[in-house]
Amino acid sequence: MKVLDRVGQATNGFFDYAGGLALLTGESLGFLFRLRVRVEETVAQCALLGVQSLIIVLLTSLFTGMVISLESSQQAVAYGFSSFVGGAVAYGAVRELGPMLTAVVVAGRVGAAIAAELGSMVVTEQIEALRSMGLEPARFLVVPRLVALLIMLPLLTIFADVVSILGGAWIAQTYAHIPYADFMSSVRQAIDFSDILKGLLKTFVFATIIAMVGAYQGLSTRGGAAGVGKATTFSVVLAIILIFMSNFVLSFLLFGSS
C-alpha cells in the first residue's frame, strides 16, 4: 500500500506542478497578447537579464566555437577536407549549440535569479501585498521577465553564433593554417538564412521555458530561506532538462527532413 501511496502522491504532484506551470504560462501569455505589459520594468529586465548575461554567453560560445574548430580542423587537415571546417563550425553553432548553449547559460544565471527573487518576495509577503492591492503578480512580475527574455535570448544567440564562428575561424587559421576567406566561404556554403531563422525560432521556446519555470518555482516557494534555495536549484535543473528535451523535438520538427 505504501508503494501505491507514493506512486499516487508522485503522480498527483506531477500533475499539480504541470497544471500550475501551464496556468501561470497561460495567464502570462494572456497578459502579453492583450499588451498589458509594464514597459519600464521590461526595459529594466532586458538590461538585468539580457545585457548582464552577454559576457558569459560570449565567453562560452567563443570557446565552444574554438573547440569545434580545433577538433574538426585536425581531422579535416589529415584527410584533406580543410575547406569544410568553417561549415562544420557554423553548422553546429547556428543550428544547435548557439541556441542551446546560450539557453543553458541563461537558465543557470537568469532562471536562478528569477526564482530567487520571486521566492524571496513570497517569503517576505511582497507577493501577497501585490495581490492585496489588486495587482496580478503574473502581470506585474512575470510578464516583464518573460518579454525581456523573449527579446534578449534571440539577440544573445545571434552574438553567440557570430562569436562562435569567429573563434572557430581564428583557431582554424592559427592551428590548421586555413585562411579566413576559405573558412568563411565554407560557412556560407554550409548554412543559409533559414538555418539561422530556425535556430532563432528555438530561442523563443527556450526563453519561455526559462522565464516560466523560474517564475513558477519562485512563486510556489514555501518554507523561508531554505525554500528559496530549493526553488532556485530546482528551477535551473528543470529548465535545463526541458531545454534539452524541447531542443530535440524542435530539431526533429525543424531540421528533421533536411
Binding site: Q126, E128, A129, L130, S132, L135
Partner: protein
C-alpha cells in the same frame, strides 16, 4: 453578533477553513461595523491573520461566506475580487514593502497601477500620505534603510494612500518598544480621524487595543466567542476572555 442597527461593511458568515488536517476557523461569524475600529484578539496561531486574509479575499473559506462591501467574495472570480480589493487595504505585519522600490515608490504603487492620476498628482498624494504617518523625509529611502516602526508606518501610508473604505491592520504593534507602540496606536487613530473609513486590527497589545477599539472580538478555537464594545469586553464575565485579558496561566484556556 451584536452591533445593533449599525451598518455592517464586512461579515464572516459561518466560515470554515482548514489547512490540510488543521482546522483554523470553524463556523466562524463576525460583523465589522461601518466607521468603527474592530480589534480581533486571541492566542498566537488562533487564526486572527487568517480572518484578515479572508476579508481581503486572499484566501476563501471551504464553507460559509465572506461579505465585503456588499459583495460575497466566495462567489466571485479573481478579477472581480480585485475590484473589491481596490476599496480595501491590508497593512502587513512586516509592512511587505517591495524592497526594490523606494518608500515613495512603494506608496505610489497602488496609485500608479490603479488610477489615471498624473505624476504630479501622485507625488502630492504620496507626500501627503507619508506626512500623515510622519515619514515625509523618508520618501527616497529604501525599505531596508528604515527601522521596524518606520517600516510599519510606511506600510500604513501605502494602505491609506488610496483612501480605502476598509483598512486591515495585521499586528501593527508586534515587536515594537512601548514608545513606538504608542506612536503606532496614535497614528492609526489619527488616520481614522483624518481619512475616516473602517478598520480591523489584529493585535496582542492590550493597552493599545483598549486605546483604539470601538469593538473587540475574541477568537478562540476557530470561532468568535465574544464580541462587544471595548468596555463590555473589559468587564466580560466570560472566563476565557478574562483569562486572556489577565494573561493568567490558570483557567479554561489550555496552555
Amino acid at each position: 453578533m451584536s452591533g445593533g442597527a449599525a451598518k455592517i461593511v464586512a461579515r464572516l458568515d459561518n466560515a470554515t477553513l482548514a489547512f490540510g488536517e488543521r482546522i483554523v476557523l470553524k463556523d466562524c461569524s463576525l460583523d465589522i461595523v461601518d466607521g468603527a475600529i474592530t480589534c480581533i484578539i486571541g492566542l498566537s496561531g488562533a487564526g486572527k491573520s487568517t480572518i484578515l486574509r479572508l476579508l481581503d479575499g486572499l484566501i476563501l473559506p471551504q464553507s460559509g461566506h465572506v461579505y465585503v462591501l456588499g459583495n460575497d467574495l466566495c462567489h466571485m472570480k479573481e478579477e472581480r475580487i480585485n475590484e473589491v480589493r481596490r476599496k480595501i487595504s491590508l497593512s502587513f505585519q512586516f509592512a511587505a514593502l517591495l524592497d526594490s522600490l523606494t518608500v515613495g515608490e512603494n506608496v505610489a504603487l497602488p496609485l500608479r497601477e490603479r488610477t489615471h492620476l498624473s505624476r504630479a498628482e501622485i507625488q502630492s498624494t504620496v507626500t501627503d500620505a507619508l506626512d500623515s504617518v510622519g515619514l515625509a523625509h523618508a520618501y527616497d529611502d529604501l525599505p531596508n534603510e528604515l527601522s521596524g516602526g518606520m517600516l510599519k508606518r510606511a506600510g500604513f501610508a501605502r494602505a491609506i494612500v488610496t483612501r480605502p473604505e476598509l483598512i486591515l491592520y495585521d499586528e501593527p504593534t508586534t515587536g515594537l518598544d512601548p514608545i513606538v507602540t504608542n506612536l503606532i496606536t496614535e497614528t492609526i487613530l489619527k488616520l481614522r480621524a483624518k481619512f475616516g473609513g473602517t478598520a480591523v486590527v489584529i493585535s496582542h497589545d492590550l493597552p493599545s487595543i483598549f486605546a483604539m477599539s470601538d469593538y473587540i472580538a475574541m477568537l478562540f478555537e476557530g470561532a468568535i466567542i465574544a464580541y462587544d464594545t471595548a468596555e463590555r469586553i473589559r468587564n466580560s464575565s466570560n472566563p476565557i476572555v478574562q483569562q486572556f485579558l489577565q494573561g493568567s496561566e490558570t483557567g479554561p484556556i489550555p496552555i
